[in-house]
Amino acid sequence: MSALLVGESVCKYFGGLKAVDDVSFELAEGEILGLIGPNGAGKTTLFSVAAGSVPATHGRVLLDGKPVNGKAGYRSVHQGICRTHQIVRPFARLSVLDNVLVGHHYGSPEGSHSSPRDRAMEILDFIGLAERANQLPGELTLAGRKRLEVARALATGPRVLLLDEVVAGLNPVEGKRFVDLIRQIRERGTSIIMIEHVMHAVMGLSDRIMVLDHGRLIAEGNPQDVAHDPQVIEAYLGREDDEDGETVTPSAEERHDA
């Protein structure tokens, strides 16, 4: 398998804080790569660099051999890389359909479709929001808004999709549906990197998993090996089950540092 997205010694420093420190990664075509780690490990920062929304301090990210530079986020979308946000950010006063249409119009959808509307409806159909096309995002449930976030990203026609905690915060039934959805997205030919705290989701979906801690890559490999890696266990040691751990509480950080 050839690598589609490559990170070469990516570093991102905020002043003295090394949020991401010398992380290299590869994403093969059609692969799902899981990205896990304790809170504050630098996962989302690595995402922002990979998505081209912020520039790397050192190192670089290549999509198909072409550098994704962090100067303008919109440009990397045109290159074929799109991210979703951990906290969903729909365009609140545009209808669900229009939200998806924005992605379609301004992304880089391959081939020209007979009608943007038909294409957007097709995506909404796939994602399971077709009946809600004319509603406002505020009328959807959290799961619905997360689906919308993914639908809008898919509409840009990405080759690489970066999913930031899309399963977190959903109830088990919705979470299960979302896992199936992510699998289907991959089957449609999109490569995926996902940050996820919900372990059964990330373990079940990922072909490979990368573990970050304090900005450094501490383990990488198939899900079983990573789950039994002593360093990974140590990084998570003393922490409660991480399923609802998306809020960074100072006490959790202290415990982690200790």
Binding site: S53, Y74, V77, F91, L94, R117, A133, L136
Partner: protein, 369 residues
């Protein structure tokens, strides 16, 4: 979903037209244009009224152009007098010094105004919401001071008089105002309905999320500001021809900037019909009430602004929407996106998001029915 299907089908029926242009809107536009063109020839209007209607066309055009930035992108400018004055003075200066034909002076004045807008706008458009508005106040006031003291160019506080016989008469200006308005309405419609309009609304809602799906926010905002400044600059040239005399205190005044905001807000920010209606209200108040009671000036505008923002953030067009709903018509969900409650403001302190969606409850009922 069914309504989506029918809408798509309706658009396809108008073959030959771009997807964003509905045949109905085109029809209304042409009929209105012809009617307004012929009106003074058929009806014998009182001369004063005729002139004021011509001036109203100009204010409508300026209000709509302000609205491209204020309503579509959600960047409320309190400094558009800077472009209005720049356009007016460049046009007047060109007419006086070089004796150029009036239409050319308007266009050049507009271009200079648009470029001026780009110069201060490119850096300041990175600010959002109230921060941008404050910056524009500074720009407007600074421009006014520079213009007042640059007497070689602007004539200082004694202003400039246009050469007699250079431009069209007030009577003829009615039609030039109409042409200007027609062009601006067409651009407004295009900006609103084409895919560009969707990108602008996305920028208004959330700049960063828009960038994450590929919208080049900087380019679009700059382009809209340039276009807005260009048209407002032409309006300044028109105003110079209309008054035959301009001075910096009037052209660059803060009141002037506020008047564009008022026209947009009273009529309904983010809509097309809104600023046009707002301009009528504005001119009626200015020409008929203020002539008799000049002391009421600012108080009246302030009161109007408060009433509109408190009770109907979509202004007069919001009232029309409500009326339409009473009569059983359901507006598309995104209509509400135009509201005064700009989502670009700090999301934490954003109760306006709710007030900006006056019809949300109703439209919920409409979809479930």
């Amino acid at each position: 979903m069914s309504s989506t299907r029918t809408r798509t089908a309706g658009r396809r029926a108008g073959r030959g037209l771009p997807l964003w242009l509905s045949p109905k809107a085109l029809g209304i536009f042409v009929v209105a244009l012809v009617a307004l063109y012929l009106a003074p020839l058929v009806l014998s209007l009182d001369g004063y009224l005729h002139n004021v209607v011509g001036l109203t066309f100009m204010f409508m055009a300026a209000g709509l152009a302000w609205n491209w930035l204020g309503g579509y992108v959600g960047q409320i400018s309190f400094g558009h007098a800077a472009m209005f004055g720049t356009g007016g003075f460049v046009a007047a200066r060109l007419a006086i010094t070089f004796g150029l034909p009036f239409w050319l002076t308007w266009v050049v004045g507009g271009l200079v105004a648009g470029l001026y807008a780009l110069i201060w706008g490119h850096p300041t458009l990175r600010l959002r919401g109230p921060y941008f508005s404050i910056a524009t106040i500074g720009v407007g006031e600074a421009t006014r001071l520079v213009a007042t003291y640059w007497s070689d160019f602007t004539g200082g506080s004694s202003g400039l008089s246009l050469p007699i016989g250079n431009g069209p008469t007030k009577y003829e200006l009615y039609w030039y105002g109409l042409y200007l308005l027609a062009a601006v309405v067409a651009i407004s419609y295009w900006l609103r309905k084409s895919r560009i309009g969707l990108g602008l609304l996305a920028i208004k809602e959330d700049v960063e999320a828009a960038a994450d799906v590929g919208v080049n926010a900087t380019l679009y905002q700059d382009a809209v500001l340039f276009l807005s400044g260009f048209v407002v600059g032409i309006c300044g040239g028109f105003y110079a021809s209309y008054q035959a005399f301009i001075d910096p205190l009037d052209m660059f005044s803060f009141d002037r900037s506020i008047s564009f905001v008022l026209i947009g807000v009273i009529g309904g920010i983010g809509t097309i019909l809104g600023p046009a209606m707002g301009a009528i209200v504005f001119v009626v108040i200015q020409e008929f009430l203020l002539a008799s009671y000049p002391q009421l000036y600012l108080g009246l505008y302030g009161t109007l602004l408060i009433i509109v923002i408190l009770f109907e953030p979509l202004g007069l067009s919001g009232l029309l929407l409500r009326l339409g709903k009473r009569l059983g018509r359901k507006p598309p969900a995104s209509t509400a996106a135009g509201g005064m409650g700009s989502a670009s403001a700090d999301p934490d302190g954003a109760p306006p998001v709710l007030t900006g969606v006056p019809g949300q409850d109703d439209s919920k009922g409409g979809t479930s029915a």
